[in-house]
Point group: C2
Chain length 408, copies 2
Amino acid sequence: MRFIVQKFGGTSVATPELRERVAGKIIAAKEEGYTPVVVVSAIGRAGDPYATDTLINFARQAHRDLSAREMDLLMSCGEIISGVVMAAVLQKAGHPAVFLTGAQAGIITDGSYNEARILKVKPENILKQAKEGKIVIVAGFQGVTEDGEITTLGRGGSDTTAAALGVALNAAYVDIYTDVEGIMTADPRIVDGAQALEKVTYDEICQLAHEGAKVVHPRAVEIVMQRNIPLRVRSTFSDTPGTLVTSSGEVYRGTIDITRDRTITGITQIPNLVQFKVATEETGTEGLTRQRRLFKSLALSGISLDFINVYPDEVVFTVKEDVWQKAAQILENAGFKAGVTPDCAKVAAVGAGMTGVPGVMAAIVEALTRENIQILQANDSYTTIWVLVKREDMEKAVRALHRQFMES
Amino acid sequence: MRFIVQKFGGTSVATPELRERVAGKIIAAKEEGYTPVVVVSAIGRAGDPYATDTLINFARQAHRDLSAREMDLLMSCGEIISGVVMAAVLQKAGHPAVFLTGAQAGIITDGSYNEARILKVKPENILKQAKEGKIVIVAGFQGVTEDGEITTLGRGGSDTTAAALGVALNAAYVDIYTDVEGIMTADPRIVDGAQALEKVTYDEICQLAHEGAKVVHPRAVEIVMQRNIPLRVRSTFSDTPGTLVTSSGEVYRGTIDITRDRTITGITQIPNLVQFKVATEETGTEGLTRQRRLFKSLALSGISLDFINVYPDEVVFTVKEDVWQKAAQILENAGFKAGVTPDCAKVAAVGAGMTGVPGVMAAIVEALTRENIQILQANDSYTTIWVLVKREDMEKAVRALHRQFMES
């Protein structure tokens, strides 16, 4: 059997019409000779009665601090309801279909409720059902411990389920269906000319995801990457081929060497950041001690820092907007004076192709200053250049960088 | 540990206020020194998003003939959602509470989806949680096969769960909480003077349930009866003691011998019946052959008959209204001529105390004819007398019999 794992997100199964469309994608894969194994997320978004957020809110109305174990049991129902309804649609279309919970599908996790990690997959039940000619539908986002406790995998968990199944079944493809055309060169809501990339590497998609592109969960990419299972990001709403995610060797060996002259893969953005500039005043040993104390006090509070630049007498970093007041309080309690710039956004140009290419940062600065965008901070790694700008400049900056690198 | 099993039906947990009230009943049992094990049904009735009927309708909109296995998976979510929310309410009140699915609670069933039978209970997990001082909440109405397939127990299944747990834990009581005061002498919506019975026997409650009194599922009674676990039917909405259901020995040994002079335990009714009178024309061997053919053809179609009277040249019986046209068609195809009386109702006087008491049937006929109620058919067994009347006379007949036997 040549397996194909097809994962459909919550918006893809939100209405009867969409579920018909999803069934069409599944049946098409079957008719192409694949044995489809389908992973579904809970139906819709907050507001739909069976969406994950709706279930969470329902329990929180009873008790804000419901135990994580019970919350996972509750959330697991979202994918059960969604998967059973997809089985119904396929059965109605005349295709034998069976639905398996995460536990029944052999998704074994550790016991970290709300953000469990898949330890292994026991695919025997899936294989048995598939051998009987059934389309197997598996609940995404959930698993079970060896002790029989139901767990959920955290946000993006259905992608992780699909990836783990792809590896366990040695699938020809793991197809992640979503509401966009594939991995885009930029957010199409910001950039009119944003396009789906034909191919990207595992590394590039991980970078894009970490930098705010809402595509595939990085953990899912890490899983398929280990066994070199090709992953495709495709649209439920069209028949375009989507983006193939594969190892860099595959991409470079492709008939069209798209990455050779592709410096930048995509432009991403993360809004709602607050920049801190903390004077550590002293330099030398005394300054280092103060800096160590600064990082330690913030780390103990669980606040994660980003965009960190360390100078002899100053530390600059950003935090997410929802924790900035907590961070400011901690710094004050620890005796630090901080300059705070609210309403910032991070814009990133991501691309493995920029490694060793001179002048990328220069081109970025050039493109932004031409548009009178103030650069608050800039960092680079060998695959990414980040620029911190004011929130009000974010869209303009994304468009400027897209024009500079993607539309030439 | 002295366990008490407390079962709360869907209407008892339908709103936040009711769930607070239910929590109060549970905490009260704990404070009386019991170890409560709570069984919950799905929240509310059709219309509530997480009610069993709502979930069924949701799947049926996709496919009317969804497979029974998948329907059970879907329905199992109703009790999971309900049970998690009850755990939330108890946790908020400061009581450690844990929720277990049927599978986690060790409710092992056969594989008859939609109407599975409990084969055994493995109470280890419940015992472990209870020993840790936790209030254990168990999903009613569901179980798991030895192969890990999720099953449901059919309507009334939460009562069965509670009864099976009561036996497995050797509980002091199995308390079935509902929206009435206990086992009533008649339906209080029909008879103003209907009252809760203080004590009834297992036999009496089974008879009442079979004759249409919506109280406790007979299967649940059969289970507790085998191990002589006392069962109480109580109201979620009041603090009255409810009805104690126990073996006849217990009732007769009671300080007040309530059953000695209680000929009739209660009056029940079942509406929506259709009466058939089928002439088998021939008598003797030929007639018997035709009668056998009549019963066989109806039995093969899965239609259940009630109120059967067999005469040498005629067979009289009733069927439920929703299958009467199917029954008529089958009889016609088999060459029988049937007289059909639509819109009938069965009224029953139930009571183990009528055994050996002369004149009960005479008193019933007297009470009904005094009210000009036409008796279409009447049968009796040693604990029950049934009368078939026109649907329009049903309420009047119930009131007449209640006055005759229960208000004297």
